[in-house]
Amino acid sequence: MLDGILLEKAGVPSASIITDVFELTGRAMAEQWGLPYYKFLMMSHPIANLTETQLDQRAREIAPEIVKLLLQGQG
């Protein structure tokens, strides 16, 4: 999340992905780092113990959202 915020501040388009249990934390972090309206993506928690197949499925599902956010930008 912080990497994405710092990239965006440096002018590099970013797409941060967090799991849903960190939504409030992500918003608070964005506010703390001076980008209160920073847009980020979410998926359901957890991901660390997913199988490779499940992880591939998650990636396929969220890929269009990543493309959309990167093309749309934070503006």
């Binding site: 912080l2 960190f22 409030l24 934390t25 608070a28 972090m29 703390q32």
Partner: protein, 282 residues
């Protein structure tokens, strides 16, 4: 974000500090603001790190920072209030509110206050701050992002190797998934005398622990701490607990009576957070 002296003072008063505690609080705040300490990680992580503060030099005696019985509490105002002041700065000034930016899954009691001093008066060893490049007559605080203390027991052995073998066995599988950036090792009175009686200085302790806390990749995989299938070479391929023997911070502290000592795993990885020692300026 700026942490002003005024804001630190307000939080120190709320924590119950005396005015003379302020230089130590300021030094600790400088420590957690150091990029090597990496505030973002230990300030927010689900790993739930506290700020272990190890006080060395004359200031420990001047402020009556406890280095003996009930090392981790309770009983000493300086130990309780200085750590509390730092935590209040973290939440009230830096915004690390539990449940919001501070997402510690469990946290631990040391997140309220986690201050100890080294027992330099009785220690046979070089004090921690001297090992880390300061003069013996300087006062310092070493801040380490830290999990809770793990106590271990050995009253049978009368050799350094015996006591440290027990410690290494306790430490080998501890902390996070793949080892920690630092471990503080707190050796109390009885163990301090036994270990030093065998001719072990802090360097020898560090080397012994480094060699005897390695774990095979096969064991880490069998116990689901490391991913992947077990390969034949994994039985002999080992993972050290820390990157270097110098990553063990050896501290003489705790009561004279009782065959107990403790180790404190650090938080995260060396890239994320390292222990930092800061001079206390009056």
């Amino acid at each position: 974000m700026s942490i002003t002296a005024e804001k630190v003072a307000v939080n120190a008063v709320m924590a119950g500090c005396k005015p003379q505690h302020m230089p130590l609080v300021v030094a600790a705040v400088k420590g957690i603001a150091d990029p090597r300490w990496g505030y973002h990680g230990p300030g927010t992580s689900t790993g739930g790190a506290g700020v272990l503060m190890i006080v060395n030099g004359p200031v420990a005696r001047e402020l009556d920072v406890n280095a003996g019985d009930n090392l981790f509490g309770p009983g000493w105002r300086a130990n309780l209030t200085i750590g509390r002041a730092v935590r209040l700065v973290m939440r009230n000034v830096c915004g690390s509110l539990p449940g919001l930016l501070d997402r510690g899954t469990l946290g631990h009691p040391g997140k309220l206050s986690y201050v100890i001093a080294e027992n330099e008066a009785e220690s046979p060893w070089t004090p921690l701050h001297v090992e880390r490049g300061f003069r013996a007559d300087q006062s310092t605080v070493t801040v380490m992002a830290a999990q809770g203390p793990h106590q271990f027991y050995n009253q049978l052995s009368n050799t350094a190797e015996g006591v440290l073998t027990t410690l290494a066995d306790d430490m080998r599988i501890s902390g996070g998934i793949m080892g920690q950036p630092n471990y503080a090792v707190i050796l109390a009175g009885e163990h301090m005398l036994t270990i030093s009686g065998s001719g072990f200085g802090k360097a020898e302790i560090r080397r012994f622990l480094f060699e005897n806390t390695k774990t095979s990749h096969a064991h880490l995989k069998r116990t689901h701490r490391m991913s992947g299938a077990i390969q034949p070479a994994d039985e002999t391929l080992t993972r050290p607990l820390v990157e270097s023997p110098d990553d063990f911070l050896i501290v003489a502290a705790g009561g004279r009576a009782g065959a107990f000592s403790a180790y404190v795993p650090g938080w995260g990885s060396k890239r994320s957070s390292q222990a930092v020692t800061v001079a206390v300026e009056k």
